[in-house]
Amino acid sequence: MIRWLLLALGGAVLGGIVHLATIMILPRTATQDAYSRLARAAAVNTVTELKAPTPDAAPMPFMDPAFANAVCRYDLSQGPLKLSVPVSLAYTSVSFYTRYDVAYYAINDRAAGRRVIELELMTVDQHNQMPEDEDITAADRLIVESPTITGLIAIRALAPEPGLMPMAKRAIAAAKCVHAE
């Protein structure tokens, strides 16, 4: 009896390890995570507009239907990226995600404080290699460091009422995500 209890206890401890290991490994093996879903539709280092979610089809689950959405799937192996997003009349936000869908930075139109949200995205190494030039360290230049080489930038503009969706879509359509020179 004691023998079986000990075996069950050992099994439970081993089960705890199995549990933790599966939780840790899951994001790296998932094939239906947001990045993988969008990788099929979005080309690298360009802004791709996402279709509005409908009851029949949506690029991702739990999308907010009040927003016009676009993504820039980035790959920084060839150098930093420049991102510019004109703000719409209501609310515009730019959120940055790693390859494993972890949000590491977000900025909205009010925080950016101008008509266009402009920033540069680079890896920590690329940031360190930048020459310490007076112009470059200027405070108005917004630099975002990506923890991973690849990832996603989600560009979103709110349509406060359905009639304003074309306005939100126009703002998104003018967004650019290109290699910095």
């Binding site: 549990h19 939780i23 239906q32 979610p53 009851p55 991702m60 909205n108 406060p160």
Partner: protein, 192 residues
């Protein structure tokens, strides 16, 4: 022989306990640091680099992009204030006010995170579309049939989830549930 059966038994226990716990954690959407106000729950930390492994695993499994904390906070409710599950065949009333935010949106999803088809193509409300009382509070009726005022159609599905997203808000990781973060009450008014 006893050794073989013994180790087999221990391994089966390990598999059941380990995979069972993982399955439960992912289907219940468990993560650390929930912010619960009434029937609403948000995980502000999930929208940051400090997201815990449970949050990351559940995000990867569902396939959504979490709302980044610099963007906003998403509160979900799947029950009313008394803990009864939200049923699309019932009339449910949301009443009250929201925490301060530049904009908010309320959206109704099925349990898989898909929108529900309905005759007027309304999947939610934004803070600007809502008709309010004189004191700024509002009332939204979530019901299968048309209602006067702010009506959010359920399409008559059995289970649904409400997501209230606050954009550009001070609500975040440091927020404690209390007087300064009022959320609308969720009440089941009538069931057929």
């Amino acid at each position: 022989m006893r050794l073989l059966f013994g180790s087999l038994f221990a391994l089966i226990v390990a598999a059941v306990v380990g995979l069972g716990a993982t399955y439960l954690a992912l289907t219940r959407g468990a993560a650390f640091g929930p912010l619960t106000i009434g029937s609403w729950t948000a995980w502000p930390k999930t929208g940051t680099v400090d997201a815990d492994p449970y949050a990351k695993a559940s995000i990867a499994r569902i396939g959504r992009l979490p709302t980044a904390l610099g963007d906003g906070v998403a509160f979900t409710a799947s029950t009313d204030d008394n803990g009864r599950p939200l049923d699309g065949r019932c009339d449910v009333v949301l009443a009250g006010v929201t925490p301060a935010a530049r904009f908010w949106t309320l959206t109704l999803y099925n349990t898989a995170g898909e929108l529900i088809g309905n005759s007027i193509n309304r999947f939610g409300f934004t803070s600007q579309e809502i008709v309010r009382h004189a004191d700024g509070s509002f009332e939204i009726v979530v019901a299968p049939r048309a209602n006067p005022g702010n009506w959010l159609p359920t399409g008559g599905i059995e289970r649904y989830i409400l997501v209230l997203r606050l954009y550009d808000t001070a609500v975040g990781v440091a927020t404690k549930a209390g007087r300064e973060v009022p959320m609308p009450s969720v009440t089941i008014r009538s069931c057929p």
